[in-house]
Amino acid sequence: MKKKIVSLMLAAALCAMPLSVSASALTAPGSTDVTTEGTVNYADTTVYSVTLPTANCFNFVVDPQGILSATDSTNYGPDKYPAGTAGYIVATEGTGAYINNKSSVPIKLMMEAYVQSDDTTGAASSVNLLGLVPEKEIMSGIDNNMMLTMDITHDKVDLATFADETTITTENVNPYVAAITQNGQPAAGDKGTQISFALAPAAYEFTGTAGSYAYTMVGGETGDSVGLRLSGLVNTNADWSAYTGASAEKIAVKTTFSFDKLSSDYELAAFDGRAHGVLADTPAEYFAGAEYDADGNLTGAVTGAMDYEVGKGALEIPFSFGTGANELGIKTIAVNGTELDPADYKALNGVITFKSTEANIKAAMDAATPDGVAAPITIVTSDDIETTVNVTMYK
């Protein structure tokens, strides 16, 4: 009988002392620590496939005297040029810049252009480069007035057949959509004339086998396309002899095309209707609105405040970045003075959203109380304007 009690007490002692053993089989009551690796199946759904224009895609003839219509009635007849080609800047029918987006995401295409007289130095041309002005203004006086513009394909072009630049014809373009007003290579840090477009994505699907999944374009997709060509008007009353002949001063246009993923979903307000995909250039409103000084200049700092209740989803700050050529990017974001890794926030659809597991965000949320604790978040946009949002965290 006594033996039994003793064994009970011993058993109790064993209970209280977990033994440290390896992950292999235990031979007595104790504890074991096991780690297992989990796998995440994921195929990146951001696939880029953008056809950009080839070099020398643009051509144009400046025809102040109307020589083209006088000598070539097939291509420059009265059906296209009722009063002849005098004063016109003419591009050959079926030529121009062709851009096609077969990416899985909508893209923002940016074109930057300027006029120059010398390809090596980027020196300005001696022509008088005007913006989008009425014809009367171009034809007045005897200066070498030039309005150099972009014709851009309109929305009704059949994208299924618009496979290359041959579709860029007078019937398919909106004329004089934007004027190139930058004369000479811009100074460092400045930009030439900019136009931006939003092009829709192509349809994609998940394919592949276990271990090698992919996101590939659905067969037969044509993608979204846009075409551009040069056009414009010149003063028929000016003397253009300096720009012809052996020692002519050149009139050249330098264009640069680049693209990025569209930072916000399609917002119809961002299309201004000038031509297919062209984005309006609205200025940024930041968080609480832009602030200006007495001279009408943007001040370097903007502040605002908002409340956030911990546990109600990710922290989101509404923010207006502007659209088109005026769209701003983010340089840095700091929480309670510490800069965040760019992977820990995203700007989309007019909102900056923050990853809740990021150390500084998590610390600010953990410090929240029912009375609210302030966590200032400072956003520096690409124009070097600082916006500080004083977020009060409640729990």
Binding site: S7, A23, G30, V34, T36, G38, Y42, T207, G313, A314
Partner: protein, 263 residues
Amino acid sequence: MKLKKIILGILFFTAVSVPFQAWASGTLSGVGLLAGKEEKEEPDIYQVTLPTDRDLEVVLDPEGLLSIHEQGKYDSSWSGQIHMKQGKGALFINRSSFPVMVRVGISIGQNRKGTPSTIGLLESDSNVNDGVWPQMYLCAIPGAAKIESMDDFMPSDTNIPIEANGGQELTEFSFLLDRSEYVQDEKTGEYVLADYEDNYDSASFVLGGKVNKNADWSSYTGKNKEHLVIRTVYTIQKQSYYDEQRLYQADGEGKMPYALIGK
């Protein structure tokens, strides 16, 4: 039968220190009756089968890519799920001569050092698809029956959300497993497991749940990926007796979790 043994032990112990009179009426005859029974020697044999480190391999499938593999064609309704790899799961089998409590502790992390995972853990699946950040509702699902291999696993209706991420945190739950019967070999005098099919007790669980199908999970795949590790700590404790009262009591219908200890 088992309860009676305990009473015997306690009574014997306290009888030493307490005057006989205090135990008048009911207990007197109890002592007398029990004293007549023969005491059997109890063997002290430990035999518990535990899961290994490959048994809880999970696959997070935010896009539903597994449907291509399982059904030959992509099906987007498969998106946002957490699956166990085929046939996997945690199984504990007790063949000891005494009951055991199996305490399970689970947490997630990036590595074995306890660095927290950057995947957010949710306590329910209702908002799992909100926002664009990687987050999940990961839960342990205990089995509904006593099984001898994971091939026979049947899930109960109970979901235990895993909310521990990194450090020394653990989400814990426990199973109570009954003892097995041992018989004494007549010739050698050694104790051996009584040879009938049902002579064991077991508990099991799998992992499951949901992941945010609207998030970008690319940082958890490919080279330089952030790893997802599931840490499990199994602690086995010998129990003096098997108390059914400790087991999970459900309030309604549904498949009850087998051997799970209630709160």
